[in-house]
Amino acid sequence: MERSILHSDMNCFYASVEMLHHPELGEKPLAVGGDPEARHGIVLTANYPAKRRGVKTGMALWQARQACPEVIFVPPRMDLYLRFSRLAHEIYADYTDLQEAFGIDESWLDVSACIDSVRDPLTIAQEISERIKHELGLTVSIGVSWNKIFAKFGSDYRKPDAITQITRDNYKKIVWSAPAADLLYVGRATKRKLAAIGINTIGDIATCNPKILCAHFGKIGYILHTFANGRDETPVCPENTVSPIKSIGNSTTTPRDLVNNDDVRMVIYLLAESVASRLRDQHFAGSLIGISVRDNGLFSFTRQKKIPMPTNISDEIARYAMQLFAANYQWEKPIRSVGVRVGDLVADEYWYQTDLFVDPKMREKQLKVDVAVDSLRRRFGHDIILRGQMYFDRVLSGLDARAEDHMVHPHSYFERGNQLGKEVFYE
């Protein structure tokens, strides 16, 4: 029997939760973003009135103010958003045990078991949408389809407060005419490479000979072809949804093999900087540090360790990661790929609860340095400021670890090892 899958996406989530709690602001442009007083930080989410005026996620606050002088900045309250996320999961749980969070505000639901003569998937989507509006005061856009990829596509297709069903009858018309970049996991770099071989729409991917895609992209080429044809069979994985984002990590295949600790240190620092920066953007700190390493043969391993207090400081993350590496690798072979991950996340407002043996002033300084580096890089690009050690080998350190090609999503689609054989995602 065909599956019935919904993908539910809460619209402008952080901003909508804030709008609900600030009825006095009405429909004024609002953006949730880090510490406006300290004049740093970025827009995490903007509401529609702000978006219409040009405010975008990821913008520095001063840029947002330039685009829309009346914008009202609200500091993020992660604990509040996590509670609303959990309330949404509770509503979903009334319909299925098979729900899978994708970030804090999106979920896949396999509702196949509730389909009967009275309720079709569309009715269930309508019911969920109504309940979220009534019970949480938020809107969702929901995609309905027979596979996760098209369900996700449907939730992005029309928003806010909309339901889009992608069926066997309409997918060629709706999905195939959309730009290639609208397909899950076609990032900016992949989009560029696709365009270079004349592939611009999802339909182009679907109808292209998969061997050609494979020749250009490796196994991911096959996966994209499968996705574009609606043949994704990946199940909706039930899981603990209390804290939807479990960890943030990056991994990369290096431009050349790594042959000694100095090489590895360079890559680990690059990855740690990008992971720390993403943690800070999302206002998280974590107390579980993990690494993944693959050599140029078949050997790979992951190790993790619990650290005394949550961190989002790049130097701390890098040091722990390096310790883990040094304690666990004997250099039998050169290394091809490295990943760094931070888990056990908490809202970063708690991070300063220091213990007896750590100098809080030193940590504060390190954090200030990181934040200053973030803001320089945001304005002038990644390479505007680099650690001295990066100059040992600019080919190796030239990787922009924040570039999306290396990015492991907060909650990777391939996290549990996907069913399609791609092995480069480590998280």
């Binding site: 609900l20 709690h21 509670r83 609303f84 309330l87 009534h134 019970e135 949480l136 005061g137 938020l138």
Partner: protein, 85 residues
């Protein structure tokens, strides 16, 4: 202690747990210090208040012949959705 933010008035509430584990508000102290007995719960349901700004469990309470909207917010505080500013 009552705190008012627009239409949202946080109030002190006296509540009981029934033998079935249900939370039942019995009285509330309004901002002027008056204690109001809750005569009856007309209905309760999960609900958001766009007027006061928040979400939780709404108790529509009969108090001195009138219905008031009392919320047990998701942060475990009680507020009344005021009728006027």
């Amino acid at each position: 202690m009552t705190v008012r933010r627009g239409y949202k008035v946080y109030v002190d509430v006296g509540a009981e747990f029934s033998d079935e584990g249900e939370l039942v508000p019995k009285y509330l102290i309004w901002e002027d210090g008056t204690r109001y007995e809750i005569d009856r719960i007309v209905k309760h349901e999960r609900c958001a208040s766009r007027k006061a700004g928040g979400a939780g469990i709404l108790y529509v309470c009969r108090v001195r012949g009138q219905d008031i909207r009392l919320f047990y917010e998701e942060n475990y505080r009680w507020f009344v959705e005021a009728k006027t500013l």
